[in-house]
């Protein structure tokens, strides 16, 4: 490619590149810059060095926020993935399998806000959940019950779509392998352990990876149902970021939380994907 042709190519690409730069890179860099400033949205940002990060690390609410985010990370990478796998494996190849899977898929049509509102009513004091369990626990009012019960709500929504992804994986397993295993006398559990699970590994990596990233940025369901409360007890890092930036109008501090969250999410995803991809290959 001649130099002129290369430049022509770059120039034709430049509107798209510019768009990506303006819409994605510029806000990110602006957020990083703001995280080193004191900024209330009115006066010009004042450079304060690492003050926001130090304050964030010293904030007593940080421990709660990290604890809850970890609960979400573990909960959402285990429960909806396990239930999704279970639904997919049990219904795969079954006559009328689609019919059995359909109810699990329907909740996925709900928005995060819709999910929060519906489960808010189920989990409220005197709500359906307490009626069924025969308990009188303020599920959304007391930690850690508020976070745990919202993880259950999210599992209800996410299991179906994970099942669908696993189903695609199951369909891609060569029939010959399964038949050969059967001929060798493998039972259902042996088939799953020795054939299905190992061959589903690449897909499981993706499903768990996506769930992990989604869980680390959990916001809508918590904000709508508890607003991170009572008393910040159900806050996740994403909720902390929103609260500090927009509710308390401390945009510099909120930006520091946002950038920290980005680093954590990026790092965790990178480590996980790298390890899993190595293991699979």
């Amino acid at each position: 490619m001649t130099g002129t042709r290369r430049w022509a190519g770059v120039s034709f690409l430049s509107p798209s590149l510019l768009l990506v730069a303006v819409v994605l890179y510029a806000p990110f860099l602006w957020t990083v810059y703001l995280s080193f400033t004191d900024y209330d949205g009115l006066r010009s940002p004042t450079f304060v060095g690492f003050d926001n990060y130090i304050r964030f690390l010293e904030d007593p609410a940080l421990a709660t926020s990290v604890r809850n985010t970890l609960m979400w990370a573990v909960g959402i990478t285990v429960l909806p993935v396990a239930f999704g796998l279970l639904i997919a494996v049990l219904s795969y190849g079954l006559k009328g399998g689609t019919f059995y899977r359909l109810p699990f898929l329907l909740p996925y049509a709900l928005s995060g806000a819709g999910l929060a509102v519906i489960w808010g009513f189920i989990l409220q004091s005197g709500g359906a959940a307490n009626d069924i369990l025969g308990t009188d626990i303020s599920l959304l009012q007391e930690a850690p019950w508020n976070t745990l019960s919202l993880i259950v709500a999210m599992t209800w929504q996410q299991a179906g779509v994970n099942a669908l992804l696993f189903l695609v994986g199951l369909q891609s397993i060569p029939k010959e392998v399964a038949e050969a295993a059967k001929l060798d006398g493998a039972g259902s559990w042996g088939m799953f352990r020795k054939i299905t699970w190992p061959l589903l590994a690449p897909l499981t990596t993706v499903v768990v990876g996506l769930s992990l990233v989604a869980s680390l940025k959990t916001f809508d369901i918590v904000w709508i149902s508890t607003q991170g409360g009572p008393g910040r007890s159900s806050e996740t890092l994403a909720v902390t970021m929103y609260r500090d930036a927009f509710v308390a109008a401390e945009f510099g501090y909120g930006a520091a939380v946002a950038f920290s969250l980005t680093i954590v999410t990026g790092l965790v995803s990178f480590i996980y994907m790298r390890r899993q991809v190595r293991a699979v290959s």
Binding site: S11, L19, L42, G126, G231, R243, V247, A248, A249
Partner: protein, 418 residues
């Protein structure tokens, strides 16, 4: 040929970029006949629209509401508009510290002349003026005013031989009676309106402390504040309040009679009528007596939301013309009575006898007005306080810890202001 191709591509990119970054026109030079009123009161869209239609007939300026329902998003949008060309013609805000900070940055149009004229011709009153005065000048005009009263289910009161109390002792006796009959006396929440009982108990026991607290001259850990939290806790312990985790709409709770009373601004009238309750027949309202009657006047919490024009509004003249019309009796009659609320314009006749009585009482010499806690408290302290009160209503025993948390936020805020 290649050079031409490169040049074409570069030009296309630059043109597209410039088009994308193009401004919405020069601020302050447009002549408008249609104004957009940005507000955080999305649920009031129909009432704004009806006033907008009326203004078109009256002054040739139509108005369309742009409503937000999420307050933080709205606030961030308005602040961002100060630095961009997407500027609201008119917008709602809050009085107190939040208004002072945007005024001090020079973003808001001075309405001193408008106030002087409106007070002279009786459209606004002197007692509202302090809430709109910053460094001796007035800014914005009242969008709405509301007094914080106790709404009560009249049928429940009648069935239990109760009448609106005139003293704290009577008030507590009424709560005891209701409790003994299996009716929860008061509504309670851990979200947003978690501050309501704190402000009421504090302003009713030590209004001076309430004022000083909002100005950073007193501490949340002071004995007077601790005493208020202990009083609030004792009321919770006695079972006077609904479960804060119950998501039943407060209007529905009051209508069902399961809860007898709820402390709200007079705007709650709209929610009750929308829930199908009849004023005076199904529900009534009274001013909460002072916990400490020392000093004579009953403390009355009051809120007034401002309607503002930017100093650099797209058409400043049109925006100011609208504000002037807004405070007048025609606009106020439509605005207040369509919502079933009180008006800042004393000329407006209120057909609802309950609201009429409230307005008359509030204007009498027996009551002293205090700005609502939500407006009186700076944002970072308020955010910490709402969280802390939310935690307190769930675990009242932790009240000292919660007060310390709020005081830490207050120390951080006020230290930056010194």
């Amino acid at each position: 040929m290649n050079a031409v191709r490169v040049l074409t591509a570069v030009c296309a990119a630059v043109v597209l970029a410039l088009a994308g970054c193009g401004s919405g026109g020069e601020t302050g030079t447009e002549k408008k006949t249609h104004l957009k009123l940005y507000n955080d009161k999305g649920a009031w869209a129909q009432y704004f629209k009806s006033v907008g239609e009326l203004s078109q007939k009256e002054i040739g300026l139509s108005m369309e509401p742009v409503g937000y329902t999420d307050e933080p998003t709205y606030e961030a949008f308005i602040k961002a508009s100060f630095r961009t060309n997407v500027k609201p013609d008119l917008f709602t805000w809050t009085t107190g510290q939040r208004m002072a900070e945007i005024v001090k940055e020079g973003h808001i149009a001075d309405t001193t002349d408008l106030w002087n004229e409106a007070i002279k011709n009786g459209d606004l009153t002197e007692n509202l003026k302090p809430y709109y005065t910053i460094d001796g000048k007035q800014y914005c005009v009242p969008l709405n005013i509301a007094y914080w009263v106790m709404f009560y289910n009249k049928k429940v009161f009648d069935a239990n031989g109760l009448r609106p109390p005139t003293s704290w002792a009577e008030f507590m006796a009424a709560a005891d009676t209701l409790k003994s009959k299996g009716i929860t006396p008061f509504y309670h929440t851990s979200v947003l309106f978690s501050f309501v009982w704190f402000q009421q108990l504090l302003v009713g026991s030590d209004p001076d402390l309430y004022q000083r607290l909002s100005e950073g001259k007193a501490k949340y850990t002071d004995p007077g504040v601790v005493k208020v939290m202990e009083l609030w806790k004792s009321m919770i312990d006695k079972g006077y309040f609904t479960d804060p985790g119950d998501k039943t709409e407060p209007a529905a709770g009051l209508k069902s009679g399961k809860v007898a009373m709820g402390n709200w601004g007079t705007w709650f009238n709209t929610s009750l009528t929308q829930a199908g309750m009849k004023p005076g027949e199904d529900y009534g309202m009274f001013f909460i007596p002072n916990e400490n009657p020392k000093g004579g006047k009953t403390s009355l919490l009051f809120e007034s939301g401002p309607l503002c024009s930017l100093d650099k509004a797209p058409d400043r003249e049109a925006s100011m013309k609208y504000l002037k019309w807004w405070v007048g009796p025609v606009a106020q009659d439509k605005w207040a009575n369509s919502r079933g609320d009180v008006s800042g314009n004393p000329k407006v006749a209120i057909p609802d006898p309950g609201l009429q009585a409230v307005t008359k009482q509030a204007g009498s010499n027996d009551y002293a007005l205090y700005n609502r806690y939500f407006e009186a408290t700076p944002a970072p302290i308020l955010t910490a306080a709402l969280d802390a009160f939310g935690a307190f209503v769930v675990k009242p025993a932790d009240y000292r810890k919660q007060l310390e948390t709020i005081q830490k936020a207050a120390d951080d805020y006020w230290s930056k202001k010194k």
